[in-house]
Subunit: 390 residues, 2 copies
């Protein structure tokens, strides 16, 4: 039954490609797949481009298997999506929240309402839900489905997200850190072809999802990837964690907004000053649009933040030697200058051997990364708990 | 045949404990083990303490299988050992070398001579050698058995260590980075019970071996663990790599010796001044013995170096969340003050969640770590290439 797991991770594969690596003979593979199609678990999904011989029929998890719900809770945003078993997005909705001020009851009630609305919008029923994946912006006890001592959202400590969301559905609920889910989503998109890479989310905070030896690595106590509190300046400002010069305190969204507000107030940027006067406060996107309009102060701020993030990443790259560093989160909307500064700093400060084949780029799944990852968690863990995956 | 691999990793296990996790029934396990004993591959090694029932007979790889050769090449030391298949040390010899001045031909010829001498000393013959493991102080292309662009020893770049040593024996030669081998050795000592930890070697340079998801992690291009060039002071001295404030340039053996020499010359330490006058130069061990004698300058130097190493490790701990940080290399001989300073700095600068269960200690295998790891590499890879391990 590992064929179903393989079909999830490698959609669009032929019978042979799915069953071959599992050690089955061609005739056994054919019989297995035929059985799974008969049971309504797999279905054919068109033919592969022919390379001379008869074109091979490709396979995917059967759409009739059911639906997945993906919930991506960021510090300041909530996204909910309904997905097919092959992670096609059927419906999706995002809105602003603030987990630093809103407790788990409020945020999760809103998530549950959106799940019902979106399911109804695509004519799905609660009984059709196969699995639910939830990403949250803090360290997670994966087995318990709870946040553990999340620095930014103390009200959520040990609140059972799983129990809260499970009530409406018979489906299992899986909870993981939001950046781990972005990493899982990219791993799925890559069909597991890259075994060692990281995804860095830069938004209100800075966190990192790690893929090691081909699977998501959560660390000895579930807090791996907590790179926001790596120090980049021992004389830097004090962070809420108590230490000085944490990269999160100096280069994440709020730090960029603070630098932009200072620049606007100091008369260094007419564009930012106008935006500040108009709305009374600035957002990271204002710095992005000012930068794209050629504003020198905005450019300087984004380059400074990018250099600091790159300095932190240089340490990570020296230690972990990943093949790819994928950047995600709100910061990816500020334009190319930030990415260029990150790259420059990483390549300058990491050892040549670690960067020779290193790619630093924005995460290809972009803003969808969180919910696609949540869907990937829901499907892969559902297959696992039902006993069909390793 | 995975039973042999299990017997290597879990010496002293009973039939049941060896074969059980591999999914064999009790009767099948019994038959398998009996067959392996008949073939001279496994042997009985005494009984386990009884817990009520009949005491279980423990098993190990048969001593008659052959011998392993382990070679640990550090920047300034060469250690060669002959080991049994269960990694019992039969003979061992260490001497000073300097790979920065001596090319691969000279060092490897000496290693080969020592291999012959030590084999003869324990009445072994070349034909009995099952496998050879070699650790080298630089980044290694594991498949090719070659160093790749080693910063400290450019003469060794792409020299085929494997071909050089293979000539005398029919056994396979495996080459890895010295710190990866220390990590492999500790993983073997722990019987693979800890899946996520790091070993940090502090000697002439600083490097790190990583165990992730239960096996040694080498990175996308084999340079994972190259933590010596993580910056701990952006205004710090320039390192040979071109960057500023690398922890290796500020806190490894040569930096400790430099600080000690300055202290001796500035009249800050009568003990160090006497040692310097006596021999014309100082070594890291002089700082250790001065520190143990209560010398204030030596204490200050070791604390300073320990704090810098701890600062680098704090970044690594935040990112990787290991359960253990094991310190090895020459620095472990300088006494407890260095370790205390490392600990203090790691616990202060890492997030509470990452350090709640973190252990920072000297590596239990100590100076044997390199050759035990080389033996573990030789045995595990020999089992793998012969088709008996995963």
């Amino acid at each position: 039954m590992r064929v179903l797991d393989a079909a999830f991770w490698s959609p669009g594969s032929s019978r042979h490609a799915l069953a071959g690596p599992l050690g089955f003979s061609a005739s056994k593979a054919k019989a297995l797949v035929a059985g799974l199609i008969d049971q309504g678990l797999l279905e054919e999904a068109g033919t592969q481009p022919s390379q001379g011989g008869r074109p091979a029929e490709t396979l995917r998890l059967h759409h009739g298997l059911g639906l997945l719900l993906g919930v991506d809770i960021g510090v300041t945003s909530l996204t909910v999506a309904v997905l097919r078993p092959d992670l096609t997005l059927l419906a999706q909705h995002s809105e602003d929240i603030d987990v630093r001020r809103q407790g788990p009851g409020v945020v999760l009630a809103r998530a549950a309402a959106l799940m019902r609305e979106l399911l109804a919008r695509c004519k799905g029923r609660a009984e059709q839900v196969l699995g639910i994946g939830v990403g949250v912006p803090g360290p997670v006890n994966f087995e318990a489905g709870q946040l553990v001592s999340p620095p930014l959202m103390p009200d959520w400590d040990r609140f059972s997200i799983r129990d809260f969301l499970r009530d409406d559905y018979r489906a299992p609920v899986f909870v993981d850190n939001d950046v781990n889910l972005m990493a899982l989503g990219e791993l799925w998109r890559l069909q597991r072809a890259l075994p060692n890479f990281i995804v860095v989310k830069i938004g209100t905070g800075i966190g990192c999802g790690i893929v090691c030896h081909g699977s998501v690595y959560r660390g000895a106590t579930g807090s791996a990837g907590d790179v926001g509190h790596i120090s980049v300046d021992h004389e830097g400002p004090r962070c809420h964690c108590g230490n000085r010069g944490c990269v999160e305190a100096m280069a994440a969204g709020p730090a960029i907004v603070r630098m932009a507000t200072e620049a606007a107030e100091a008369g260094e940027s007419p564009v930012l000053a106008a935006a500040l006067a108009e709305r009374g406060s600035l957002a990271a996107e204002d710095v992005g649009s000012a930068s794209r309009a050629g504003d020198a102060a905005a450019n300087r701020i984004l380059q400074h933040a990018g250099h600091l993030v790159g300095q932190m990443l240089a340490a990570v790259v020296n230690f972990f030697n990943p093949s790819h560093v994928l950047l995600g989160g709100g910061i990816t909307q500020v334009g190319p200058l930030f990415l260029a500064a990150v790259r420059q700093s990483v390549y300058q400060r990491s050892l040549a051997l670690s960067t020779r084949q290193l790619e630093v780029q924005y995460a290809p799944l972009g803003a969808q990364g969180g919910v696609v990852g949540a869907g990937a968690l829901a499907m892969s863990e559902t297959l696992r708990v039902r006993g069909v995956a390793p």
